[in-house]
Amino acid sequence: MPKLSMTTVRVYVTLKPSLLDSAGRTVAGALQKLGYNELHQARIGKLIELQVEEYDEVRIKEMCDKLLANPVIEDYTIEVPR
């Protein structure tokens, strides 16, 4: 019997804070041109939604380490499903 209910796990991948995010800088520049002078920085990351049969932290971490994030340049956080 296939499992009908799936669990959605969200993984956020972000560029390490020490690295210049040139895409984010472009977006910040555009927002400042629109008059949002209070803005100092914008950084762009990725949201990856994974639908799995059940949440298994070890397996999800493995997916992040093996493919979803590059530890040289990125950090990731896993949003544990409620």
């Binding site: 690295l19 995010d21 040139s22 493919l67 979803l68 590059n70 340049i73």
Partner: protein, 229 residues
């Protein structure tokens, strides 16, 4: 002597590499599909440029996990020659065969132009005896080389920095570092010196008709491999 030109879906410099090797260098080359599992009968590997897997997730991320890469890894670890240009460089970094990573150019723009390179290592298979500034084409949006300071220091100590972006006179300036790479690094070697990754395209500069033959300085390594067989 036969070179494997690895083909990933989305590669677009595979034919440039193939024709450069065959027509301009007179070296046998054959395409190897990314889903293949063998490099049997090949003496060197060329990982070409392009946009493998649409550059989805990160440049080179998916390609570096393709089935043929297990074989490329074994080949590289045996000390046999592997070169990756542009997307090929990104694939080698993502595969962990070279240190560091490549990010969106500091100036955001996709850069398609000629650059000048200082040859920093002149002893590796790929750079042996090259004693001039090279003019080679680049064509990339994500070529900003990044490695942390400790990693760069190790590269420096081990002579693993192959090329740096310079101006025509060989001077390093903010302008000559076209994509904002750490320490103006344009190409790196592994510790053994048999694996080279670089953002510029030597395979696009092996025919005078196409503007430069400076790529031969690097591509001639394939002749060295052939003569040492």
């Amino acid at each position: 002597m036969k070179v494997a030109v690895i083909r990933f879906p989305g590669a677009n410099c595979d034919q440039d590499a193939y024709f450069s090797l065959r027509e301009d260098l007179g070296i046998q080359a054959e395409y190897v599909w990314h889903e293949d599992h063998s490099l049997e009968g090949f003496d060197a590997v060329f990982l070409p440029g392009g946009f493998s897997y649409g550059d989805y997730l990160r440049c080179g991320a998916m390609a570096s996990r393709a089935p043929i890469m297990a074989e490329v890894r074994r080949f590289a670890e045996e000390g046999r020659p592997v070169i990756g240009a542009c997307n090929g460089f990104q694939v080698l970094c993502e595969a962990g065969l070279l240190p560091g990573a490549l990010l969106l150019n500091a100036g955001q723009k996709f850069l398609c132009k000629d650059v000048y390179l200082a040859v920093e290592n002149r002893t590796s298979l790929w750079t042996r005896g090259v004693d001039k500034i090279l003019r080679l084409p680049i064509a990339h949006g994500e070529g900003r080389y990044i490695a942390d300071e400790d990693a760069v220091a190790r590269l420096e100590d081990n002579g693993q920095i192959a090329f740096r972006y310079v101006d025509a006179s060989g001077a390093r300036t903010d302008e000559s570092n076209v994509n904002g790479s750490a320490h103006a690094i344009a190409g790196v070697l592994n510790t053994k010196g048999n694996v080279l990754g670089l953002m510029p395209h030597p395979e696009r500069a092996t025919k005078a008709l196409l503007g430069s033959t400076d790529g031969l300085a690097i591509m001639n390594a394939f002749h060295l491999v052939a003569s040492n067989r």
